[in-house]
């Protein structure tokens, strides 16, 4: 009765507006609705119930510690390997492994993957999100293929942007800093009836490093423009429509593509994303979501290359495809004046003879350069739909399940010889079951059929034992996969050079002799992961401590460097990753807060050296921030990794940020200055060759300043 009467009290309190009346009328319904929130595990769960170790980076943390990019934000994640190879080129992977092409971690923006289907990569500098739009970043540290399928093999990074109803009417920000860094952002928030829209425009530019291994003056600047639109329409009290669109356009400098280049192979990029989510609440405990997404990721990359004319001979190209070693030996002999090699089969020797005749026909021009325009243009496309059903059976059982399909393609004359595509269909389901107060069980799996890689199933089972109100012990077993991509399975790689000058045999177009064709037959990479976690929540200190012990076996790995000179991907490799991680955040007063994370990693039994090319036995970060009052705040943080991988350098960086805020005629403003000190001016990383590449700043100190104005 007491409760009923308290509800009635609220009815009467709601004098000035009908306000609380409707809520009070059906409080249970409202309560259940409240819990229906989509998350990386696809069920909104507390940290005590979630079947994985999770790192949450909030917008507030980014602001307090002066973090201005997603890659830098990920340095806050224990065990996350972040290598800034060149200006626009980041290699990021949870627990590292193969630095050449980190492709075992999925990246979502509001649940939509930005993983590129044809070449299995995430272009971190081009992710279609502006840092000022980020509400939080949730990182599931461990395989999450059971919820998000293949490519969520090591971890999932979910970047959640600000809801259109949560942004100001206007926002503008200017940031400038060392190495030509500039970042301009403008955002408008509008409300029209049941629809809220935010529109963000951004321009980012950065001169990159001062020196690169293959460009002494450095040539790795980034200039990108972004336009993001997100809207939310409450169609009815039980239905809503979310629409997101993004454009990323610009230019990123690339220093090197081939040894004969006479211009830089810079990239002009244009990415377009469009997505819509219809959410329908069938009852207070039952919700259905339909998602439709499309992404176009286009790269224009061309340069002038001037190889010896012999490189364009069709006869040499035929010989290369039959016996690449014999072709290389022939070119070597031509270069050195040595004897013509022999040693192939009869057929190969016949091809060799035909090539020699062709070379003789060219005469001296054979070794003289012929210039033309080469390109690595590509267009990757993915279109997918997904239907998801979330159902709260009772206080003890919650279910989420669904199905989806995707068509994805890659188009590139250079890499694929045209257009190659694949289709995927999937089914998934997860259940959370709390049979007693001290135990939460999670189980689920994701089955996918891929026309390129066959069928996979990724299961997960977890038990969270709540030792007390503030302590949880977590036991997780899971499997995950990464599907071989379109290039690995269907590459038809060769360079057609246009605008030849002088022309060759009357033609201004010719193909370079080297080529590679994939043989297919690759299967998915696999991981089996075991994790023991411990979560401690000390509320009087505002402290959350998460400790994790893990043992991950990665098998069927495709580890080989893929290049024209040697295109032979296999599933023959494996590596074992074991270690421990600690993650601590604390906010023990409104003025003081901080974080500490540390990861110890053992990279064991790697069968290919590249699987140890991104590896730090020790890595971590520590930060402390203090609010002085009157809007002033200072933060100090350190990020470091021991850099034990093949060709990998140690990384360390101190950041000191001082910020203040106020308002002018009711308009709140903020300004900050950050000083960074690098322990090491250079970053080195493996390239699959005996020598590592390095990128170097001329100065250890970097300074950044920011000023922002809000129109609430």
């Amino acid at each position: 009765m007491g409760r009923t009467l308290s509800l009635l009290t609220t009815v009467l309190v709601a004098s000035g507006g009908a306000s609380a009346q409707d809520i009070a009328a059906d409080p249970e319904a409202s309560n259940e609705h409240y819990l229906m929130v989509i998350t990386p595990t696809r069920l909104r769960q507390s940290l005590a119930d979630v079947p994985a170790s999770v790192t949450v980076i909030t917008a507030e943390t980014l602001r307090r510690f002066g973090i201005t990019s997603v890659p830098d934000a990920l340095r806050l994640v224990p065990g996350m390997a972040v290598t800034h190879a060149t200006g626009p080129d980041y290699r990021i992977s949870y627990h590292g492994t193969n630095i050449l092409s980190p492709r075992r971690m999925n990246v979502l923006i509001d649940g939509i993957s930005v993983y590129r289907p044809a070449f299995s990569e995430v272009e971190w500098s081009q992710v279609p999100v502006v840092v000022d739009d980020i509400d939080r970043i949730e990182v599931t540290r461990g395989p999450d293929s059971a919820a998000y399928g293949p490519n969520s093999m090591l971890a999932v990074v979910n970047i959640v942007t600000k809801h259109p109803r949560d942004v100001e009417r206007g926002f503008g920000s200017v940031e400038v800093g060392s190495n030509g860094y500039a970042n301009l952002t403008g955002r408008v928030g509008l409300t029209a009836g049941p629809t809220a829209i935010n529109l963000t425009a951004n321009r980012t530019q950065d001169r990159g490093y001062d020196t690169l291994s293959n460009a002494a003056e450095g040539h790795d600047s980034t200039r990108l423009n972004r336009l993001n639109v997100r809207s939310r329409t409450d169609v009815s009290p039980t239905a809503s429509l979310d629409v997101q669109a993004a454009l990323v356009q610009g230019r990123t400098e690339v220093a090197f593509a081939d040894g004969y280049q006479t211009s830089f192979p810079d990239k002009r990029v244009m990415d377009a994303y469009l997505g819509a989510v219809w959410t329908q609440q069938l009852s207070p405990t039952h919700e259905v979501q339909l998602r439709l997404n499309h992404a176009d990721q286009r790269v224009r990359q061309s340069w002038t290359s001037c190889p010896p004319t012999v490189g364009f001979l069709p006869e040499l190209s035929t010989l290369w495809r039959a016996n690449s070693a014999l072709a290389d030996a022939l070119l070597y002999s031509l270069q050195t004046g040595g004897p013509i090699p022999i040693g192939g089969s009869a057929a190969e020797n016949a091809l060799l003879a035909a090539t020699v005749v062709a070379i003789q026909r060219l005469g001296p021009r054979a070794v003289e350069p012929t210039c033309g325009t080469a390109n690595q243009d590509s267009l990757e496309r993915r279109t997918d739909f997904e239907l998801q059903d979330t159902y709260v059976v009772s206080d003890q059982i919650r279910l989420v399940g669904g199905l989806g399909a995707r068509h994805q393609s890659g188009e590139s004359q250079t890499y694929l010889g045209g257009v190659r595509s694949s289709t995927l269909q999937w089914l998934f389901g997860n259940v959370e079951y709390r049979p007693v107060a001290w135990l939460t069980l999670n189980g689920g799996g994701y089955a996918e059929h891929n026309t390129l890689a066959g069928s996979t199933f990724s299961p997960r089972a977890a038990a969270n034992l709540h030792l007390s109100a503030d302590q949880t012990l977590r036991l997780v077993w899971s499997k995950g996969t990464r599907s071989p991509d379109i290039q690995e399975q269907q590459a038809n790689w060769s360079y057609t050079v246009n605008d030849l000058n002088p022309s060759l045999n009357g033609s201004t177009t010719a193909r370079l002799y080297q080529s590679a064709v994939a043989h297919g037959g690759l299967v998915s990479e696999r991981i089996t992961s075991r994790e023991i976690g411990y979560l401690l929540n000390v509320q009087r200190l505002g402290m959350l401590l998460d400790v994790k012990l893990f043992d991950d076996e990665l098998t069927s790995l495709i580890s080989e460097r893929l290049n024209l000179a040697g295109f032979a991907p296999t599933n023959d490799n494996s590596v074992t990753l074991r270690g421990a991680e600690i993650q601590l955040t604390a906010e023990w007063s409104p003025r003081w807060s901080g974080f500490l994370n540390y990861a110890y990693l053992d990279n064991l039994d790697a069968t290919h050296s590249l699987e140890r090319s991104q590896y730090s036995r020790h890595s971590g970060a520590i930060g402390l921030t203090h609010a002085f009052g009157r809007g002033w705040r200072s933060s100090l943080s350190y990020y470091g990794s021991s850099g034990d991988g093949v060709g990998e350098s140690r990384y360390g960086r101190w950041d000191l940020t001082l910020s203040t805020s106020g308002d002018v005629q009711g308009l709140p403003w903020t300004t900050s200055i950050s000083v960074r000190r690098l322990d090491n001016r250079s970053v080195s990383y493996a390239f699959g060759t005996p020598d590592a590449l390095a990128s170097t700043y001329s100065n250890r100190l970097q300074v950044y300043g920011q000023i922002g104005l809000r129109f609430p």
Partner: protein
């Protein structure tokens, strides 16, 4: 309610099984209760009052009370009843019940009524009670965000004092009339917890829902102002039951009987409601000392 259950309730209420407040029967006042409407909520409150004061009379129409043979005390149950009561000349002091402070103040201002013959027990918990709840919940100093409209700007000193008493850091934001509520919340994004109070200048049924969704998206707990809001999705609230309010009314009526009309006041007796699901989702640990917090009637 079935006819049989209603009959049983009637028997219990009027058959003498629920003991009336003996002291009142001897008071030299007639107790007249002005009712706002015929809703179930009102009916149940009237029933609770009648259990306590069996000789009281209740009606929506003040004119039907007729002339009293002795002094009268009026009770207005809810804002509609208060509005009615303030629109006529009453021949006795008026006590407002189950109306928020903001509505009480606004109606008095609108009607131009001198406050000396009108008092109230507000419906919502006192800021001090809410701050005490927050302090005990977090067991440390946290930043409490609160939105005020022009209609409730007078609350600022009270909130600041309550926050100081409990060593909490208060972030107050006054919201312009044309501002969307969830956008206004962006000013309080750094607050550890949001405290909301009844304010018709700020909250409607629709935007309260949006507020809950917005704060939940950010993982920002909300302290509401009633148990119903806790059921709807706020983390916790201090609140008073109808019986708590009636217990406080007893002492107020005793003061009236002694010739004094007490100042309008917040509920003296209160308790705590917690939404365990929300607490779990937001990683907030609620121990029993929080659940037992409050001040029960003797």
């Amino acid at each position: 309610m079935s006819r049989r259950r209603r009959s049983l309730l009637t028997l219990l209420l009027f058959g003498g099984l629920v003991p009336p407040r003996a002291a009142w029967a001897g008071e030299p006042y007639d107790l007249r209760v002005i009712v706002g409407d015929d809703s179930g909520a009102q009916r149940q409150i009237i029933q609770a009052l009648r259990r306590r004061y069996p000789s009281m009379v209740a009606d929506r129409d003040v004119a039907k009370f007729g002339r009293a043979g002795r002094p009268v005390v009026y009770l207005a149950v809810g804002p509609a009843a208060l509005r009615t009561a303030l629109s006529v000349a009453l021949d006795g002091p008026l006590i407002s019940l189950f109306t928020s402070r903001q509505t009480f103040v606004r109606l008095l201002e609108e009607r131009g009524v001198a406050q000396r013959r009108v008092t109230a027990i507000y419906a919502e918990p006192a800021p001090a009670q809410q701050m005490q709840l927050i302090a005990l919940l977090y067991q440390r100093s946290v930043r409490v965000g609160t939105l005020l409209s022009g209609q409730t700007a007078y609350m600022a000193p009270l909130l600041q004092q309550a926050a100081r008493e409990h060593k909490l850091d208060l972030a107050l934001k006054t919201v312009e009339p044309d501002k969307t509520l969830s956008r206004a919340l962006t000013d309080l994004a750094s607050a550890n917890v949001l405290l909301i109070s009844p304010d018709s200048g700020l909250y409607t049924a629709e935007n309260l829902r949006q507020l809950l969704e917005s704060t939940y998206r950010r993982g920002q707990p909300v302290i509401g102002f009633s148990a119903a809001l806790v059921s709807a999705g706020t983390l916790a609230s201090a609140y008073s039951t109808v019986d708590d309010t009636i217990s406080q009314l007893d002492s107020m009526l005793e003061a009236v009987a002694a010739g004094r009309l007490p100042e309008a006041q917040y509920p003296r007796y209160w308790r705590v409601a917690v939404n365990e699901n929300v607490a779990r989702s937001l990683n907030v640990i609620v121990d029993d000392t929080v659940r037992k917090l409050g001040n029960r009637p003797p």
